[in-house]
């Protein structure tokens, strides 16, 4: 194999801290190269250098043996054969597949109008190689997530089709929003590219996916490249050690089998997919809810918080010696009313629903408590600051300063800040959707420990997640959903990633043709 992309001695400094420290990396023709690392390890910086967003302090880049001066002009990356698909995919949901594919470069007729017949023929060609039939007239927003990802890949590859020599597709966390069975489909498409001689740089947090689908793996830690190895020589434990730099103490908890008194009882819960579901969650219990996408489990946290309209059912919050029982109608529930009952929601979509990226960490974190700092007609901002400072210390949030905008924090630290924002409210019921999405390995353990701690203080916790591994590590009990109903209840030793994965997929294993392993 020969070298497609060669990066040498790449160094990049932000505010005196090295985001990239003398990183040298080679990507061969026809390989899938995994790039792993914590949030803040330098992965995103590396990609942004390749995309021409950042100018490195030092370093060389060569593509197909030709030197490419840094910084690359962002609009000339395609000339060099560099194609990018970012996490958000960057598709226009309200337009058709054809429109989205055409947007990179239109086929013009001799008089300059768009030649839709040729455009259509080309689009068919673009998609055909991936072996997934997608009708060109469909709106992108109506496609399955994996179909959207494939449209994005097809479009990115079209942009570089005129580059001579090999081409590199950078896939930046493409699987975050994919239901597990569709990951296999996505990598079918990736294999297709690689067999045609192109290369793929696959950036991910998901160790299993990287182990399963890549040829070689590079690991970044604190801006340094700590290893590039053949994937076949690696196992999960070794990868974790490379990423973290130490063995993680396995997060273990005793699954508690006796439930204490329930803290909340849900009855007749109905939503877009959910159909008349009833369950309860105990004080001190971490209850997992899972299933395939569309099985309805993902609505539960939002319905029980009044964040999603159109739900029905009842949520009874069970009181104790101090508090009377209180039954809330899901139909009429609002976030404000939920908060009054000490219910908190930590949504999965951080950027849209949990944080305001351009506002400071301080204002983001203090929001639910801000009224308590309003005394004698003034916001006591010194008091507010020390309150946030205490939370930042106790949640071990790494940040440049309390006034730094939230967007400057890594995903893991953002998530910890969101946890701090809500857990400081001493909740009785914690609702959380995909707790560690976009969070690195070490941050994940911190977050799991936090959730365990809040449960130990007597709160009930409901976790919606597609990650069988996460549920197995974290939950005392897991409800598996299918077609809007509870299909299995797993307790005790059944709270195991293989059992959860089997239960989730059971009859639907044929979807995406994946085996159980692919689902963890």
């Amino acid at each position: 194999m020969s070298t497609l992309v060669e990066l040498q001695h790449l160094t990049m400094t932000f505010n005196a801290s090295k985001a990239l420290d003398d990183v040298s990396l080679e990507i061969q023709h026809g390989e899938v190269h995994g790039l792993l690392g914590h949030n803040g390890s330098g992965k995103s910086t590396l990609i942004r250098v390749l995309a021409g967003v950042y100018t490195p302090d030092r370093g060389r880049l060569a593509v197909n043996g030709r030197d490419v001066p840094l910084p690359i002009q962002p609009d000339s990356t395609s000339e060099h054969g560099l194609a990018f698909v970012h996490q958000g995919l960057g598709l226009a949901g309200g337009l058709s597949v054809l429109d989205n594919l055409a947007v990179a470069n239109y086929e013009r007729s001799s008089v300059g109008r768009i030649d839709w017949r040729r455009q259509r023929a080309r689009a068919v060609e673009q998609l055909r190689r991936f072996g997934v039939p997608i009708a060109l007239e469909r709106l992108v927003s109506e496609l399955e997530p994996v179909e959207q990802a494939i449209v994005a890949i097809a479009r990115a590859m079209t942009a570089v089709e005129r580059a001579d020599g090999g081409r590199l597709l950078v896939l930046d966390e493409p699987t975050v929003y994919l239901p597990r069975p569709q990951v296999e489909t996505l990598f079918g498409a990736v294999r297709e590219l690689v067999s045609a001689g192109d290369s793929v740089l696959f950036v991910s947090h998901r160790i299993q996916e990287v182990l399963r689908y890549t040829d070689r793996v590079s690991v970044l830690r604190n801006g340094r490249l700590v290893a590039t190895e053949q994937t076949s020589s690696l196992d999960e434990r070794r990868v974790v050690r490379l990423i973290v730099g130490r063995d993680l103490d396995d997060y273990k908890h005793a699954v508690s089998n006796e439930r204490e008194r329930p803290v909340a009882t849900v009855s007749g819960l109905t939503g877009k997919h959910l159909r008349d579901v009833s369950f309860e969650v105990g004080a001190g219990e971490i209850l997992g809810v899972t299933g395939l996408a569309g099985s309805g489990f993902g609505e539960i946290p939002y319905l029980l918080y009044g964040a999603l309209r159109g739900g029905q059912g009842a949520l009874e919050m069970i009181g104790d010696s101090d508090l009377a029982n209180r039954t809330l109608s899901v139909e009429e529930l609002t976030p404000l009313a939920a908060q009054a009952q000490k219910i908190v929601l930590i949504p999965a979509d951080r950027a849209q629903r949990a944080i305001i990226p351009e506002q400071s960490v301080q204002t983001n974190v203090s929001l639910p408590a801000v009224r308590s700092f309003f005394r004698h007609g003034l916001l006591n901002q010194r008091q507010e600051r020390s309150y946030v400072r205490r939370l930042v210390d106790s949640f071990d949030i790494r940040l440049p300063s309390l006034d730094a905008p939230m967007s400057q924090l890594s995903g893991g630290n953002q998530q910890k800040a969101v946890l701090a924002k809500w857990l400081s409210q001493v909740p009785r019921l914690v609702l959380m959707d995909e707790p560690t999405q976009g969070v690195d390995v070490a941050g994940r353990l911190d977050i799991w420990n936090r959730l365990r701690t809040v449960a130990e203080t007597g709160a009930g916790v409901i976790i919606a997640s597609e990650s069988a591994e996460e549920l197995a590590e974290l939950c005392d009990r897991v409800l598996v959903f299918r077609d809007g109903e509870i299909s299995r209840e797993l307790t005790g030793t059944s709270v195991d990633k293989h059992v959860i994965a089997d239960a989730t997929l059971a009859e639907d294993a044929r979807v995406g043709g994946s085996s159980t392993d692919a689902v963890v």
Partner: protein, 330 residues
């Protein structure tokens, strides 16, 4: 000929430093520095005309109305709403004062209260269409603006003088050679700063404006916050109309509309200074005086009055561009 000759050499260095100027605008006190530099330049180029207490007094006094409109607009924009009806609301209130006091002779203080209440009602009507009927604020307030202009002409289509003398005195007397309205507008800016910076409501306004869904999930009553912001915007615009009536001693139906664009320019130019990247009160106040200094100076140097429109429009475009850049960097 001489005038043209002296102007050409000045224009060249200005355009060369244009890029630096934009960069300087992005930093915290950059705008103030540019302002000072500009004032100094005009003092030198128009000796004995720019830096006189009369001219300074005029500069500070004449812009008080704009400061008040900008404060109103700031509430709407911070909450994420475009209020294009601020100028028309000002015009309505101004004309109400002229008609009810100047023509019909009603008690001026009653009229003042009615004018501000009329403004608040406009704000509520805006909120009805924007918050409840879910019309985009740009469209709703554009419609409201035209509607109000019609209503204003319906009330009175002539210039009215002869307003209550005490009332006019309060708008025209000077203290330390600056007209009193300057001090009123400072008080209103102070109050706006207090609300936006030092109360939970101010915090909520910013959250609703920059992330409505985050705000909703955080338990903020988003609809109420948006409504209050629109009412504040309209009520302050109406108050600005009252202030204008008192400092002019007269009213006219077509004056209001001229305040719309300068107010937007000030609010967005203000977001490039004091707290760059964030809409803020003192930034907007500085911006108002930055703008008028530029215009007054250029006019003293012989520029035609159309320079005003070019300046306001150009600055609005540049300011929004700079503040978007500042936001992107952080």
């Amino acid at each position: 000929m001489t005038a043209t000759d002296t102007k050409t050499p000045d224009a060249a260095p200005e355009s060369r430093t244009g890029a630096h100027l934009l960069q300087a605008l992005g930093s915290k006190y950059g705008l103030i520095l540019v302002w000072a530099a500009m004032a100094l330049t005009f003092t030198i180029l128009a000796p004995g005309r720019f830096l006189t207490s009369q001219n300074m007094g005029n500069i500070f006094g004449s812009q008080a109305v704009l400061v008040v409109v900008a404060m109103g607009l700031l509430f709407a924009v911070v909450a994420g709403e475009w209020d294009l009806s601020v100028g028309a609301t000002l015009g309505l209130s101004l004309t109400l004062v002229g008609k009810l006091n100047g023509v019909l002779g009603w008690n001026i203080w009653l009229v003042v209260v009615l004018a501000v209440l009329a403004g608040a009602l406009v704000g509520l009507a805006n909120a009805f269409f924007i918050v409840i009927a879910d019309v985009p604020s740009l469209i709703a307030t554009l419609g409201m603006s035209t509607l109000l202009a019609g209503v204003t002409y319906g009330i009175s289509n002539v210039t009215v003088a002869g307003l209550d003398e005490t009332f006019v005195g309060l708008g025209q007397h000077r203290f330390l050679s600056i007209p009193l309205p300057f001090y009123y507008c400072l008080l209103i800016a102070l109050a706006s700063w207090y609300v936006l910076r030092w109360t939970p409501f101010g915090r909520h306004l910013y959250f609703v404006g920059s992330g409505r869904e985050v705000a909703r999930l955080s338990g903020i009553r988003v609809g109420r916050v948006r409504t209050l912001a629109l009412v504040a915007s309209a009520a302050l615009s109406a108050l600005a109309g009252v202030l204008l009536a008192s400092s002019l001693g007269a009213t006219g139906p077509s004056i209001g509309a001229t305040y719309l664009l300068p107010a937007f320019a000030a609010v967005f130019l203000g977001a490039t200074t004091i707290a760059p990247g964030h809409l803020n009160v003192w930034g907007a106040v500085v911006a108002v005086y930055f703008l008028i200094t530029g215009i007054t100076g250029l006019q003293l140097l012989g520029a035609e009055s159309y320079i005003q429109q070019i300046f306001y429009g150009g600055i609005l475009l540049a300011a929004v561009a700079v503040s978007r850049q500042a936001k992107g960097r952080t």
